[in-house]
Amino acid sequence: MRVGVVVFPGSNGDRDALHAARLAGAEAELVWHESTDLGGSDVVVLPGGFAYGDYIRAGVLARFSPVMGGVRQHVAQGGLVLGICNGFQVLAEAGLLPGALLRNASLRFEHRWVRVAVERSDTPFTRAIPRGRTLRLPIAHGEGRYFLPAPDLEGLEAQKQVVFRYVAPEGNPNGSAHDIAGVIDVSGRVCGLMPHPERASEPILGSDDGMLVFRSLLESAAETVGAGRESAEVVG
């Protein structure tokens, strides 16, 4: 599996995402935001950080970076995209994921460990996570309060697009609607979450629960690549 980790000016979770992807067994490379070439990536990761200083709104300026054209094309071709924290904000601003990430209700930059329930174990991002397993992951954000107008929120729930939800004992850290920590698009190929799976990649960091997300991606991509090769053989 090839993972492309996009680097925007102000990204700071790119090296951690690279590390976690390689630890999971993937080939992983950084992709500068001015490039539209994703280097044949099976999975694109939009990492955490403060792209363009989070000016105007978190994620909105990054949305116009040339690389996002490549990301849209990647999605159109059925590729996988994972947005972590700031990456989630970029995907929401770009309209690739529903909703908006607003200033935390607490007004504080929330930087701590949380626990999330995995609502879907049938996505490319969660398939390696045993059913019923919760994840211990760190958060670090000032604008993570998930918002969607009420009717759309009901639709989101009805279509089972909520993948991660904050649960006890720490609970909801930012005032997100329905305790939402992460969502998936209708195609099931684009996922974003505020917690940082890449920062929970080894026990020495306090948790390696985040590796389950990267292992899920590895399994999914292996399957897709395998299927691609099979069809290529048939054609060839």
Binding site: I56, F64, E93, G99, L102, R103, A105, L107, R145
Partner: protein, 97 residues
């Protein structure tokens, strides 16, 4: 071409929790101010657009407001002309309301 200057005022929509406004309200007792409520904090952007006419210039600002300066999901905005018309060679940054 003429330079037109505009102001875009962006505000959180009604019903959307505005933690900044709430924080301001929380600080008012420290200023010994009473009777102030419903504080909402928005954003104002001023810019100049070089276009053939005002309608075309305003259309550019409308697009920027909806795609960049405001998130239509949670924010509303108004656009106003500020200052007078300027020629191509004038310094568009000078002047204003």
């Amino acid at each position: 071409m003429t330079s037109y200057r505009f102001a875009i005022d962006v505000m959180p929509k009604e019903g959307i929790l505005d933690p900044q406004g709430r924080a301001v309200e929380g600080s008012l007792p420290h200023l010994e101010v009473e009777g102030v409520s419903e504080v909402r904090v928005g954003r104002r952007v001023e810019l100049s657009v070089e276009e053939a006419d005002e309608d075309t210039a305003r259309a550019v600002v409308e697009r920027l407001a909806g795609e960049l300066f405001a998130n239509p999901l949670v924010e509303s905005w108004t656009i106003d002309r500020v200052g007078g018309r300027r020629t191509e060679h004038s310094d568009a940054r000078v002047g204003g309301p």
